[in-house]
Amino acid sequence: MKIRNSKDAEKNELNMTSMIDIVFLLLIFFVMTFKIVEMEGDFSVKMPLASTSNAVVDPTDLPLKLRLRADATGKLTDMALNEINLGVDFDQLRANIVTLVGTAAPVAGDDKGPELEIDTDYNLRYEYVIQSITAVSGYKDGDQVVKLIEKIKFAKPRR
């Protein structure tokens, strides 16, 4: 009787090739679809269409006006808060807002806080608008965010 060579039994390994094929496909799929997630957040702006009926408003309720001017390339050339010229310094803008509204103002209530109207040149880059919104809506005190103005609206677009 012939005894089978015991070495043959060792050769009974699984064929890995197909599994590795699939595994590499999966790997390539995940690598290609991988994208580092950037954290994003929102500045909320509640802005109903201005109705003509309540055109007469309480003069004490008038919003602060922030005027942003741009040069031809869309770069910010100067800012004016209630006609006070501030140059292009966002820190100065924030300091002015702090003196105007005080840090305690937004605690008064959701709808009561001061309002800011942003009036910007048409071709100003959006980035500067966000920077000015950042400057007026608050500042960071350590890890704490101190809120200043929460009600922001835009003036009519200037063509």
């Binding site: 790997l27 991988f34 954290m39 994003e40 500045f43 802005m47 880059r125």
Partner: protein
């Protein structure tokens, strides 16, 4: 004479460590992959701000408007200009109305490129306001520096 059998396919290396590593990589990418991030658009590079925090709860009835650098607006895969956006918004609003909700509940998320003209963003807001939309969210990137 006995001829030796030539075994050609015996030059296999040990696959085990490679497969271990490959599985580790797959597990890594699987865990980190984020399919929910379909809102983003390649043509939009958001401006950044130190003050924003990622929202705790997603906004209800979001209408995501991407505003590209040249002022073109992308809504649900279709391109619009400020003039034609009304059509796209009305389509979204009809969906909201079909769910028996009012237009005022919808949130317009504006994802504008950082170099877009601010006036183009204002135009988008104006068109949306004309459709009785009033909640806007200006989406920005969180700046942790």
């Amino acid at each position: 004479m006995r001829v030796k059998r030539i075994k050609t396919d015996m030059a296999e290396g040990d696959m085990t460590p490679m497969i271990d590593m490959v599985f580790q990589l797959i597990a890594f990418f699987m865990v980190l992959i984020n399919f929910a991030q379909t809102e983003s658009n390649d043509r939009v590079v958001l401006p950044s701000s130190t003050l924003v925090k990622p929202p705790e709860a997603p906004l209800e009835f979001p209408i995501v408007l991407h505003v590209a650098k040249d002022g073109e607006i992308i809504l649900g895969g279709d391109n619009y200009t400020a003039e034609t956006l009304r059509v796209g918004l009305q389509r979204e609003i009809s969906v909201i109305n079909a769910e028996k909700k009012s237009v005022g509940d919808a949130n317009v998320i504006i994802r504008a490129h950082k170099d877009t003209a601010a006036g183009d963003v204002q135009e988008v807001i104006r068109v949306a306001q004309e459709q009785k939309l009033e909640n806007f969210a200006l989406r920005v990137k969180e700046d942790r520096s």
